[in-house]
């Protein structure tokens, strides 16, 4: 097949795939007798139309950037990390432990430590599947799925049996003092009213730059991409595939754990059951849609942030539509950009090269 021009490959094809996903999503909305265009209007207003809505959009975006990066990092090494959900959950343990240990201290001191400690816990949780893949050949897809479930049980036990203080009814840890929590942006910027977006948002923006630097500007990133694109050539180049896989999985887990900093450190101020709430899984759609590139991941995360916040608004205004429509869109995006990403490559390629078909044969 004739290769597509670069712009078509990088922009047009993904755009068409995403458009197809949204088109089918729209048809599904239409099929239950609702107006998809009206729904889009409500969602846009809900996500960007007023300060607190916008704040919520950015809050969701923060989660999705980290989860998207956790999937993308592994994908650059040719691995499909389905585990950010569990990695973020376990990362929450690191965040709350350091937070409670230093409870009452100023957030400026605790925030960086939450990042480090959360990252360590998330990295450890992701390292095990990485190690098993590298050394024992256990498929990282299955092991990360299993580790998500194991994380649910383990964290459930830790929260309800160890961290839960005496005399508290719900399953959650002791709360952090206000001064120790990651400050929310509404305390600096009036606009965000009562939305939960906090300083972690800037950490997410920083993470996008960091990942760009790591993957495209360092020796390690070079090795990761070599392993992901051509393991035989990586071996030829003297790059250890095993080492690369283990390190990149640990890194992915560390990034996933930043979802915990956002939620445990910045929003709830305590460790509650199942606080990740699917954000890790959204990361899969974000990563595929963004083709693993930080710019793409940032934009996709914003889109999904908008969908999640706008979907909330939608559920209020159009009772026939639930927020789960977003999960459907998420699924369609994964399907068309991930599993069937090359479906339109053939027709597109023929469209581009039809006029001078014989030349394409050479």
């Amino acid at each position: 097949m004739t290769p597509l021009p670069r712009w078509a490959d990088v922009v047009l094809l993904p755009f068409l795939n995403v458009a197809l996903a949204f088109l089918i999503g729209g048809l599904i909305v239409l099929s239950v007798g609702q107006n998809p265009l009206q729904a889009v209007g409500i969602m846009l207003y809900g996500a960007f139309g007023y300060g607190s809505g916008f704040g919520y959009t950015l809050y969701y975006t923060t989660d999705f950037i980290f989860a998207g990066l956790a999937v993308s990092l592994a994908y650059h090494a040719g691995l499909f990390n389905i585990g950010p959900e569990g990695q973020a959950y376990v990362g929450g343990l690191g965040v709350i432990l350091i937070g409670l240990a230093l409870n009452g201290m100023h957030w400026a001191l605790v925030f960086p430590l939450m990042i480090v400690c959360g990252a360590l816990f998330g990295a450890a949780w992701a390292f095990v599947p990485g190690y098993l893949q590298a050394k024992r050949g256990s498929h990282v897809v299955i092991t990360t799925i299993m580790f998500n479930f194991i994380a649910v049980s383990m964290m459930g036990y830790i929260i309800s049996r160890i961290l839960k203080p005496e005399g508290v009814n719900s399953d959650e840890s002791a709360p952090l003092d206000a001064i120790t929590r990651v400050p929310q942006l509404r305390s600096f910027i009036e606009l965000f009213k009562n939305s939960p977006v906090n300083l972690t948002f800037f950490l997410a923006i920083g993470a996008l730059f960091l990942v760009y630097w790591l993957i495209w500007r360092t020796k390690f990133g070079y090795k990761v991409r070599a392993v992901g694109n051509n393991p035989v050539a990586a071996r030829y180049a003297g790059i250890s595939t095993q080492k690369t896989i283990m390190v990149i999985m640990a890194l992915a887990g560390a990034f996933a754990a930043m979802v915990a900093v956002n939620n445990v450190g910045g929003v709830q101020g305590r460790l509650i059951l199942n606080f990740v709430n699917g954000a890790g899984f959204v990361g899969i759609a974000v990563a595929f849609m963004g083709k693993g590139h930080p710019i793409g991941v940032g934009l996709s995360a914003l889109l999904f942030g908008m969908l999640y916040q706008g979907g909330q608004e939608l559920a209020f205004q159009m009772p026939g539509i639930t927020r789960e429509m977003i999960v459907t869109i998420q699924a369609l995006v994964i399907l068309f950009t991930g599993a069937m990403g090359d479906m339109m490559r053939g027709p597109l390629s023929r469209m581009f090269f039809q006029p001078d078909a014989p030349a394409g044969d050479k």
């Binding site: 299993m146 789960e324 459907t328 994964i334």
Partner: protein
């Protein structure tokens, strides 16, 4: 003494009930994976089947039509999976993951749109469900010690799908190891080129496998919503598709062992609430979460090759391309 017997019978009885969807989903996955197609999407198909069955049954009042709808929904999902992984030669894992989200999103969304009950379907009763069947003489034999108890409580008194699930195991074993189709199915998952050079269509064979997968997992979904429960609720598959996948791996893709592993996982599920708070000698108190996590931990340990090796069908996950 009698109380212990009653307790044991009750636990075993709920073991059976809890194992049924696992057995059906495991066998379903067996056909797909034996044909060389990874089926991460079992969870989604189970959920979609459950929803379609409950919705159809609620609307038509017939459990049987509900069952057909459950199978139909699973067929649609299998069709998408086949399209992505057989025709477009896409990534089977990603396709399966997408299907799981699709089911999670669509069932809740359509449920709310159609029934406006926050994702629940209406409560089902009477003929809208598959009700327990009392086997012959169950009542008469009730007074026979031990055996009567076992027959009456454990063997009799389940719904038809339960019996279907248990019959499906030997049938699958027979199909797999005693029929021409089974021979070809096993071959295409190991070495599709051997099938192709023997003049048999790899594509057709794999679609046939996906159809059987859909039928079984659709029945499993229907069991959840219109046999075990009286209606659908959000995410009611609750990871059972993944557990079934784990059971399949644990059973090394064989039907008999899959039954045993599913029963074991069902048993773990059944006892977890009974042992809550109980203190055992030597080991002390066993947290319920440890038992919940056990199937997953065991699967990881197995995959890592620390207890035997789970060798998957050799060609699994690789789209078949003929030309070089």
């Amino acid at each position: 003494m009698d109380q212990i017997l009653v307790d044991i019978t009750l636990i075993l009885d709920s073991t059976v009930r809890l194992a049924v969807p696992l057995i059906l989903a495991s066998l379903a996955g067996l056909y797909s994976e034996r044909s060389g197609i990874i089926d991460i999407g079992l969870e989604g198909k189970l959920l979609a089947g459950a929803f379609a069955a409950a919705a159809m049954s609620a609307v038509t009042g017939s459990a049987w039509l509900g069952l057909l709808a459950g199978i139909g929904a699973a067929l649609v999902f299998s069709g998408i999976h086949g399209l992505a992984s057989i025709n477009f030669k896409g990534n089977q894992t990603i396709s399966g993951v997408a299907l799981n989200f699709l089911a999670a999103g669509l069932t809740t969304f359509l449920g709310q749109s159609w029934f406006r009950r926050g994702g629940y379907t209406p409560q089902l009763s009477g003929d809208q469900r598959f009700n327990p069947i009392t086997l012959p003489f169950a009542e008469e034999l009730r007074d026979v010690p031990v055996l009567g108890q076992i027959y009456g409580e454990l063997i009799s008194g389940h719904n038809i799908i339960t019996y279907v699930a248990f019959i499906a195991v030997p049938v699958t074993a027979w199909v797999l190891f005693r029929s021409r189709f089974g021979l070809r199915l096993r071959a295409v998952g190991e070495n599709p080129k051997a099938i192709d050079t023997a003049g048999i269509s790899v594509t057709r064979l794999r679609y046939q496998a996906l159809i059987i997968t859909a039928v079984l997992v659709g029945i499993g979904g229907a069991y959840l919503s219109i046999a075990q429960s009286a209606g659908f609720n959000n995410n009611m598959s609750a990871g059972r598709g993944y557990i079934a996948l784990a059971a399949l791996i644990f059973a090394k893709w064989r039907p008999g062992p899959a039954l045993l592993v599913c029963l074991m996982f069902g048993f773990l599920d059944a006892v977890q609430f009974r042992i809550q708070g109980q203190v055992f000698p030597i080991i002390g108190e066993v947290p319920v979460q440890a038992i919940q996590a056990l199937p997953y931990i065991l699967t990881v340990v197995l995959l890592a090759g620390f207890i035997g090796r789970a060798v998957a069908p050799k060609a699994i996950g690789v789209p078949y391309t003929k030309e070089r």
